[in-house]
């Protein structure tokens, strides 16, 4: 009986350790520090020409909108699996405003933390991309994204997750994202987030009445790659301002950190209870 107990305990502990090694938090890897790129969107400069939408779709083989005739600005639109960015029009107290919507390329993306196959991946330069070969279509990234950005090809037998990639392939060639390149009014500015923050702050302080004193994306969800400046409070432009400043992966941190504790502690506790119970039932 004693040897059997030892074997079951050893087996249980080995199994728990194995599961703990697989499921426990991985140690932080030391990588050379890289700066993230981002895009500054100045909504006071946007004229709603939607050249960015056209350039994006042309670049990636998506549905190219007919900006002259489709009248799409009449209602609020969301991005789709075949159109990775849209421009929406808002009537505000300071007139007509246009806001470009696309993936925010968060510093600590919820989608990347959610993805169990590492298909959603934050590159070192900043863009958050989707890697086809790994994805199994579980759509957990869609559940987790606070901006509801990833779109799924429900009508395909081999569906993709579809969203703005900040033209990662173009960045690798030293080019700017297609939308930035196409913007005629410099409403979109590409650069390192650090530099864009400086530019944004400078614009706010240099033109006191022109902007709301907030750079959307500075602190939201722990900071995003895409930053916005606006002339009116951001709620009026369709932005969610209740997302908090905690990076979203941190919401699961306590749970994931607790896993090894349970995996080591619970088998020991259960075996202890069992030994106590055995002693009680033995006459």
């Amino acid at each position: 009986m004693k040897r059997r107990k030892f074997l079951t305990l050893a087996g249980g502990a080995a199994g728990a350790a194995l599961a703990g090694a697989k499921a426990g938090a991985a140690p932080a890897v030391e990588e050379p520090a890289t700066e993230f790129y981002g895009v500054l969107v100045d909504t006071t400069r946007c004229i709603g020409c939607r050249a960015c939408e056209v350039a994006c779709s042309v670049e990636h083989g998506n549905d190219v909108p007919d900006v002259e005739h489709d009248g799409a600005l009449a209602e609020l639109r969301d991005t789709s699996e075949r159109q990775w960015t849209v421009v929406n029009r808002f009537e505000t107290e300071r007139g007509e405003m246009f806001v470009k919507k696309q993936c925010m390329h968060c510093w600590q993306p919820a989608c990347t933390a959610a993805c169990l196959t590492n298909a959603m991946y934050k590159t070192r330069e900043g863009p958050v991309i989707w890697r086809s070969g790994k994805c199994m279509g579980c759509r957990y990234c869609m559940v987790s994204c606070p901006f509801d950005i990833p779109k799924f090809e429900y009508d395909a037998w081999n569906p993709k997750i579809s969203k703005c990639t900040m033209c990662a392939e173009r960045l690798a060639l030293g080019q700017k994202p297609a939308c930035v390149e196409a913007c005629p009014t410099d409403a979109l500015m590409f650069g390192m987030k650090r530099e864009l923050m400086e530019i944004a702050r400078t614009r706010i302080y240099s033109h006191p009445g022109r902007y709301v004193r907030q750079i959307y994306g500075e602190h939201e969800v722990g900071g995003t790659g895409w930053l916005y400046l606006a002339a009116v409070p951001f709620e009026q432009l369709g932005f969610r301002t209740d997302l908090g400043t905690t990076p979203y992966p941190e919401f699961t941190r306590d749970f994931l950190y607790g896993v090894p504790v349970v995996l080591f502690g619970l088998p020991a506790l259960l075996l202890g209870l069992n030994l106590l119970a055995e002693r009680r039932t033995q006459p």
Binding site: G11, G15, A114, M136, M142, A156, Y248, T252, P267, T281
Partner: protein, 410 residues
Amino acid sequence: MSAEPLPLDPRPSVPERSFFRFLLGELRPRGKWLTPFNLISIPVILLGVGILVVRFIYGLESVSNLNQAYPWGLWKGFNVITGVAFAGGAYVITFVVYVMRLDKYEPIVRATVLNGLLAYVFYAGALILDLGRPWNIINPVIGNSFGYNSVLFLVAWHFMLYMVAECIEFSPVVAEWAGWRRVRRVLHSLTLGAVIFGITLSTLHQSGLGALFLMAKPKIHPLWYSEFIPILFLASSIPAGLSMVIVEGTLTRRAFREQLIPAGDRAHEEIVLGLAKGACIALFVYYFFKALLFVHEHQWSYLGSPWGWWYLLEVVGLVLVPCVMFAYAVRHRRLGLVRVAAVLTLLGIVMNRLNVSVIAFNWNSPATYHPSWEEYVVSLTVVFAELWVFRWIVRRMPVLRASPAASRGE
């Protein structure tokens, strides 16, 4: 083990004939074909299989109402997330029988483990049906892509390891059925280890299913979102599992009457009352936890809205009410009332899991979702298919009736 002689297995011991011929014999169908269950389940299963063929050719949109705002629907919300809560009976009962050595519950442990194992297998199957690219499910398994940072990665791995543990727990029954006596002895010695492993895994993936929604904070209605969702899911999986054992036990004892011994009825009554006690206490604790969160998160401000009424229905109507019912029924030995309370508890769990994953999800978005008829059919298909396998096993293996080894005193 017990003093009374238990009925012996009438079949000849298997070493005298080859296992292959034995298996062929076992594969022959038994029982009547025209039962109400068969008449309902066979058309549903056939229809479900047809729907799935369409789904794999034309994509999820052709058979479901899933959309960009509602990526998870009935299959994930009910078959996977609720189904796993219902299968929680296995880890509770094995804890009680094998860890705490309460032999009173031994007669039901085999059926409970079998149900748990089949539930996980079929609900993992339902998950695979819901994936966009099911063939890539091997990626997080074979080491091609370990997404350590993902709660879903943990849930997936624990699912798989738990099925292994349950297989080990159930394997002595298979060995008895096949007559492999030495194998059975070896497997039996692994039981405690498998049970301890299984309880640990269950704890983590029951709470893990709740942890999946931690990052959806701005998208789930405040009455259902909390940083403690993992603990709430774990806590509610206990009464869910116990209630399922009560309901399932009632149904199987009626369906497989011919396998039971008359003396077992009295013992089963005591078992049900014991389970009801456990469910009562678990619901009580869960209710107070919800009350604590209600106060802590200032949730009373939401009570005026329709969501508030829906919340009260779930927490008061389907948690507190069955808790009180269980208490009264145990005290006055009212078995019928116990079963009613168990059904109410199960309804409450379904409601809670669906609320968190689908109904109260993206509640502030203009988009809506309700399952298509095809989704309902496939959901039922998965459940019916599981029941078919359950029936096949129970009719042939010593799950409900005493095992030959036990009757020989091994």
